[in-house]
C-alpha cells in the first residue's frame, strides 16, 4: 500500500511530523512501513497492511489511526449530495452476495484527460492514468479502500443487474483479457451483455473521452465470493485485494458522496437519477464487555484507565458503562482482547520494558523421551566422527507404491512423495559429496519417515547412517547399542521409536562452522626439504596460517623422511582446498609452500 504524505494531510491537516518519524510511528502502531521515497515532489510511503485491517487499505482508515495516535482532528472530506431527479434507475440486484451498493446516473458530463494532481496521485500508486472519470473512481478506491466503477450508459444502458452468472460464457476485461466464465462468478450484466466482474470492469461498457453519461456504483460484496472468483479467474486487481477484506458497508455512502462530488466538480454534468441504495441487511455492531484495567494486566505495565477510555472514544467507540460498541469501520474488533490491543498499541509497545524476562519456575518435565533419545544419538554419532545432514522429506520415487503417501498439490513436481526411507536421500547426499570429492564421508540423519497403514497416515522417527567403511559402521553401531542383522553395508537405517529411551539428557555444547561447498575439493601434495627435524604439529600450524582458513579444507603431513646421504628431512604435506577452481588452488598451493 502506497501512502502520499500530502494526501494523508488532507484528512489530517494538523499532521506536521517529519516523514522519518511518521514511518516509525506507523510501524509501531501496526502498519509496517518499509520506506518512503520522493516521486514527482511527493513523499510516498510504502506500507504492509495487516490482513485483518481492510479499513487501512485506504487513506481514511490509516488517517483514523493516526488521528488517535497523535490526538489530532480527522477532517471529513465528503459531503452528502441529494438528487432532485424523479427518475428511478431500473437496477436489479438478484443475488445475496451484494452487501451494499449505491448508484446514480450523471448526464451531460465532459470527460477529459486527468488534471496533473490526479495523474501524479495515480503515478505514486503505480496506476496508469486513463481519463478523469476513470481516474476519479480509482482515486476514491485508494482514499477509502472501497472499489467502485463507472459505466458508459451509451454502451451499458441503465438496466444493470447484479447476479451470479448464468448465461455468459466469456468476459472481456478492460485490458482486453478474455476470461472464461461459469455459474460461480458474481457479475454485473445488462440483459444482453456481461458488463463487469465484481472486481474488474469490462471492455463492453468502458469509459472513454467521448463518454457523456455514466452510472457510477460503489459496492461491497460477499468477500469469500470475490476471493473465489479472483482465484478461479487467476486475476488479482487492486479492487479484488480490497473486496476480499471485511469492508465497512457504512463507509459506502461516504465514498459514494465523495466520488459524486469530485465527478461533478471535475467533469461537470448533472445528477439525472435518484440515488439507488441497496442495503438489505444493516450490520449489527457488537457490544463488548470491557474492563479498562485489563490493559495494564495484560501489558504488565501501568496504563491509566482514563487513557484506555479516552483512547477508545477517539477511535470512535460508543461507551455505555462497561459496554463498548466499536465503530463499524473496525471489523477487526469483536472481543475484549481486541479492545485491549487497541489501548496498548496507542499507549505504546515501546513503553514495555525489554529486560524483564520470565524467571525460572520449577515445572514437571513434559519433554517426550524420544527427544532425549534423538539428542543422545546425535551426540554419540558426532563423537564417533559422523556429520549430521538434513535431507528433503519429499522425494521423487516411492520405495513401496502400496504404502507411499502422495501429496495432492506439491508444486515441486520432482518431489511429490513423503519419504518412506532415509536411505535414498542419504544416497543423493553421498552423490553430492562424491561430486565434490569430499574424502572419506561419514554422515547421518535422524528424521521422520512416512507411510500409509489402511486409512491412517503414520510417521516414525528413523536414523540413517552412512560410512565409507562398512566394518567401522558395524563397530560404531555396537557402541550405540544398536543391533542389526546387516553385516556388510555402508548404509544402515533403523526405526528408533522402539529403542530404549533415556530419562534424562544433558546436551553437549557444539558451535562448529559449516560450509557451503561450491566446487570440488582439490587435494595437492608438497614436499619441503628442511635442514633440521621440526615438530610436525608446529609445521601444520605454520602452513595453515600461511594458506589461510578461507580456502583450506584440510592440511596433514603424510610422510617424514630423513635422507641418509644429505642428512636433510623431507616433509610431505597434503593440502585440500575448497571453493577454488583448479588453477587458483594450484597457485595458492605453490605460493604458500614457497614452491614458485
Amino acid at each position: 500500500m502506497k501512502l502520499i504524505y500530502s494526501e494523508l494531510q488532507k484528512f489530517l491537516p494538523d499532521l506536521k511530523i517529519e516523514p522519518t518519524q511518521l514511518r516509525d510511528d506507523l510501524t509501531m502502531i501496526g502498519h509496517f512501513t518499509n520506506f518512503f521515497e520522493e516521486i514527482d515532489g511527493q513523499i510516498v510511503f510504502d506500507l504492509d497492511i495487516k490482513v485483518n485491517r481492510g479499513d487501512c487499505l485506504g487513506y481514511y482508515g490509516l488517517a483514523r489511526d493516526l488521528a488517535v495516535f497523535y490526538n489530532i482532528p480527522l477532517k471529513n472530506l465528503s459531503s452528502e449530495i441529494s438528487s432532485s431527479s424523479n427518475y428511478s434507475l431500473p437496477i436489479k440486484v438478484n443475488t445475496e452476495n451484494v452487501k451494499r451498493v449505491m448508484s446514480v446516473k450523471i448526464s451531460n458530463l465532459k470527460n477529459t484527460l486527468s488534471p496533473i494532481w490526479l495523474q501524479t496521485f495515480l503515478k505514486c500508486h503505480s496506476v496508469n492514468s486513463i481519463n478523469t472519470l476513470v481516474d476519479l473512481t480509482n482515486y476514491i478506491m485508494f482514499l477509502y479502500g472501497i472499489p467502485n466503477h463507472a459505466f458508459d450508459t451509451a454502451k451499458s444502458t441503465d438496466n444493470l443487474i447484479w447476479e451470479m452468472n448464468s448465461k455468459f460464457k466469456e468476459f472481456t476485461s478492460l485490458d482486453g483479457s478474455k476470461l472464461i466464465l461459469d455459474n460461480s462468478i458474481l457479475m454485473i450484466n445488462n440483459p444482453d451483455k456481461s458488463l463487469s466482474l465484481s472486481f474488474w470492469g469490462g471492455e463492453a461498457c468502458a469509459i472513454g473521452l467521448n463518454t457523456t453519461e455514466t452510472i457510477i456504483e460503489v459496492a461491497i460484496y460477499n468477500r469469500v465470493i470475490v476471493r473465489q472468483n479472483s482465484r478461479q479467474l487467476k486475476s488479482v486487481t487492486e479492487a479484488s485485494i480490497r473486496l476480499e477484506k471485511d469492508l465497512d458497508e457504512e463507509l459506502v455512502s461516504t465514498a459514494f458522496n465523495h466520488l459524486l462530488n469530485l465527478i461533478l466538480e471535475n467533469c461537470g454534468g448533472q445528477v439525472s437519477s435518484q440515488i439507488f441504495d441497496h442495503y438489505p441487511q444493516k450490520i449489527e455492531l457488537p457490544k463488548i464487555e470491557f474492563d479498562p484495567q485489563k490493559a495494564s494486566l495484560i501489558s504488565g505495565i501501568e496504563i491509566p484507565t482514563d487513557f484506555s477510555l479516552d483512547c477508545l472514544t477517539r477511535l470512535g467507540c460508543q461507551i455505555n458503562n462497561s459496554l463498548i460498541t466499536p465503530p463499524s469501520i473496525r471489523k477487526d474488533i469483536s472481543i475484549e482482547a481486541d479492545l485491549i490491543e487497541e489501548v496498548i498499541r496507542f499507549w505504546g509497545y515501546q513503553k514495555i520494558p525489554i529486560n524483564q524476562p520470565l524467571i525460572y519456575k520449577e515445572l514437571p518435565d513434559i519433554t517426550p523421551k524420544e527427544i532425549y533419545l534423538i539428542e543422545n544419538l546425535k551426540d554419540k554419532l558426532t563423537e564417533l566422527g559422523y556429520d549430521e545432514v538434513l535431507t528433503w522429506p519429499l522425494v521423487t520415487n516411492a520405495v513401496n507404491q502400496d504404502t507411499v503417501i502422495t501429496t495432492q498439490n506439491s508444486i515441486n513436481s520432482e518431489a511429490i512423495y513423503l519419504r518412506q526411507s532415509l536411505i535414498p536421500s542419504l544416497l543423493q547426499q553421498l552423490d553430492q559429496y562424491n561430486r565434490f570429492k569430499l574424502p572419506n564421508p561419514q554422515f547421518f540423519e535422524i528424521g521422520k519417515v512416512f507411510f500409509k497403514a489402511g486409512d491412517q497416515f503414520v510417521e516414525k522417527n528413523a536414523l540413517g547412517i552412512y560410512s565409507y567403511n562398512s566394518d567401522q559402521l558395524l563397530t560404531d553401531l555396537q557402541q550405540l547399542n544398536i543391533e542389526t542383522n546387516i553385516t556388510d553395508n555402508n548404509f544402515i537405517e533403523i526405526i528408533i521409536d522402539d529403542l530404549l529411551k533415556p530419562d534424562q539428557y544433558t546436551p553437549k555444547s557444539d558451535n562448529n562452522t559449516a560450509y557451503e561447498l561450491t566446487s570440488q575439493i582439490i587435494t595437492l601434495n608438497a614436499n619441503l626439504i628442511l635442514d633440521t627435524k621440526e615438530d610436525p604439529i608446529k609445521l601444520i600450524e605454520k602452513y595453515s596460517q600461511i594458506i589461510g582458513s578461507e580456502f583450506l579444507w584440510k592440511l596433514i603431513i603424510t610422510d617424514i623422511y630423513q635422507d641418509s646421504k644429505s642428512n636433510k628431512y623431507r616433509y610431505t604435506f597434503q593440502a585440500s582446498y575448497f571453493n577454488l577452481d583448479d588453477k587458483k588452488a594450484k597457485s595458492l598451493h605453490l605460493k604458500s609452500f614457497g614452491l614458485i
Binding site: 501496526g30 472481543i335 515445572l363 560450509y515 584440510k554
Partner: protein, 338 residues
C-alpha cells in the same frame, strides 16, 4: 604439557622400555593406538576441554602420540634391521582424529533449548502430518484465510490432512494434550512445509522455533523480556530489537520483533529492503479463543507464544548464500575443526 598427559607419558614410556617380546609390544600398541585405545580416548575428550585450552591440548596430545609411537618403533627397531632412517608413519598421519559435527540448525535449536531450559521450559514436539483443525481452526485462522489456499499449503488429502505449515500447530496439540496439566512452559523446534518452488531463496521445507507459556497472570512484559533474552543469546548483547504491534490470528495482542539491520545499522539497505529493520518472527498473547478451543479457561489462564524462523539466521551466521545448502545440498564441515 598438560599434567595428566605428562603422567601418561612417563607411565607408558616406562612400560615400553620394559617390553621384552614382540607379543607384549603388539599388545601395548593396541592398548595405546587401537580404535578404542588410550590415545583415541584422549582425543575424544577434546570436546570436554574448555575452548581456550583446546588448541594446546591438541598439540600436547599429538606430541604425546608422536613420542610414544617413536618409542614403540625404536623398541621394535632395536630387534630388527633397518636400511635407512625413514620414519614410517603410514596410517598414523599427523592430524587430529575425525570429529563429527551437528547440523547448524540443530546447533541453533540446542542453543535456544538451553536458554529456555534455564527458564523451566520443556522441549516438545508434534506430528508433521496434521489436520486442518490443529493447523488452522484451533489457531483461530478464519476458514477463508489465504493461508489455507492450495497455493500455500501442501495437502495430503484436502482439506483435512496436510503437512504442518507452522510450529504453532505443535502449540495446538500441546494445549489440547496438556490442558489439565497447567501451568505449561514448552519450546519446540520443528520443520514446517509451504507450497513453494525450491530455488536459491525459497524452499518448501524450513525450520521454525516456537515457545509457549500458559500460566496465571502472564503479561506482554514477560513475553517481550523473554524474547529479548533469546535474541541476545543468539545475536549477542548489543543487538537492537524493537517490538511493535503485529497481527497473527492466534494471538491478541500481537507483537512483531524487528532486529535493527546488521548490515546498515538502521539506515536502510537492499538487505533490509530499505526499512532499516528485519522482521524476526511473530508473537503475542495467546488469543482467548485459542485457549477456549483447547479447553482452557481464558478468564483464569493466559499465556504467550512466539515463533521465529531458523534457516535465514543460520544462513547469515554461516555465510550460506543458498537455502538449498541446508538440506541435502552442499553443506559440509571441515575435518578436525573443533
Amino acid at each position: 604439557m598438560n599434567q595428566n598427559l605428562q603422567n601418561i607419558k612417563i607411565q607408558y614410556l616406562e612400560k615400553i622400555t620394559n617390553l621384552k617380546t614382540d607379543k607384549e609390544l603388539e599388545s601395548l600398541r593396541i592398548e595405546l593406538f587401537g580404535r578404542n585405545g588410550l590415545i583415541n580416548d584422549l582425543f575424544s575428550k577434546i570436546k570436554e576441554i574448555p575452548n581456550e585450552e583446546k588448541k594446546q591440548y591438541g598439540a600436547d596430545l599429538n606430541q604425546l602420540k608422536t613420542e610414544l609411537e617413536e618409542k614403540l618403533k625404536n623398541q621394535n627397531v632395536s630387534k630388527t634391521e633397518t636400511k635407512d632412517l625413514k620414519l614410517e608413519i603410514g596410517n598414523s598421519e599427523i592430524k587430529l582424529p575425525k570429529i563429527g559435527h551437528l547440523h547448524p540448525i540443530t546447533q541453533t535449536e540446542r542453543q535456544l533449548n538451553e536458554v529456555f531450559k534455564k527458564l523451566g521450559f520443556s522441549v516438545y514436539n508434534g506430528p508433521e502430518i496434521v489436520t486442518d483443525e490443529f493447523n488452522f481452526a484451533r489457531l483461530n485462522v478464519p476458514k477463508d484465510h489465504p493461508a489455507m489456499d492450495m497455493q500455500d499449503t501442501i495437502y495430503i488429502k484436502e482439506p483435512k490432512y496436510l503437512l504442518r505449515t507452522q510450529t504453532s500447530t505443535i502449540e495446538s496439540y500441546l494445549l489440547a494434550q496438556k490442558n489439565k496439566d497447567l501451568p505449561i512452559r514448552a519450546a519446540f523446534p520443528g520443520s514446517v512445509f509451504r507450497n513453494e518452488k525450491v530455488n536459491r531463496s525459497n524452499h518448501f521445507v524450513f525450520h521454525q522455533y516456537q515457545a509457549v507459556v500458559v500460566d496465571k497472570n502472564v503479561t506482554m512484559k514477560d513475553l517481550i523480556g523473554t524474547m529479548d533474552l533469546m535474541f541476545k543469546t543468539l545475536y549477542g548483547p548489543d543487538v537492537v530489537v524493537r517490538y511493535r504491534c503485529k497481527y497473527y490470528p492466534e494471538v491478541e495482542p500481537g507483537v512483531g520483533p524487528d532486529m535493527q539491520c546488521f548490515n546498515c545499522h538502521g539506515k536502510g539497505c537492499p538487505l533490509c529492503k530499505y526499512a532499516g529493520w528485519i522482521e524476526m518472527g511473530g508473537s503475542g498473547m495467546i488469543h482467548p479463543k485459542v485457549l477456549e478451543m483447547a479447553g482452557i479457561d481464558p478468564k483464569i489462564w493466559s499465556g504467550f507464544a512466539f515463533g521465529m524462523g531458523l534457516d535465514r539466521w543460520t544462513m547469515a551466521q554461516k555465510n550460506i548464500k543458498d537455502i538449498r545448502t541446508l538440506m541435502g545440498g552442499n553443506l559440509a564441515y571441515k575435518p578436525n575443526e573443533l
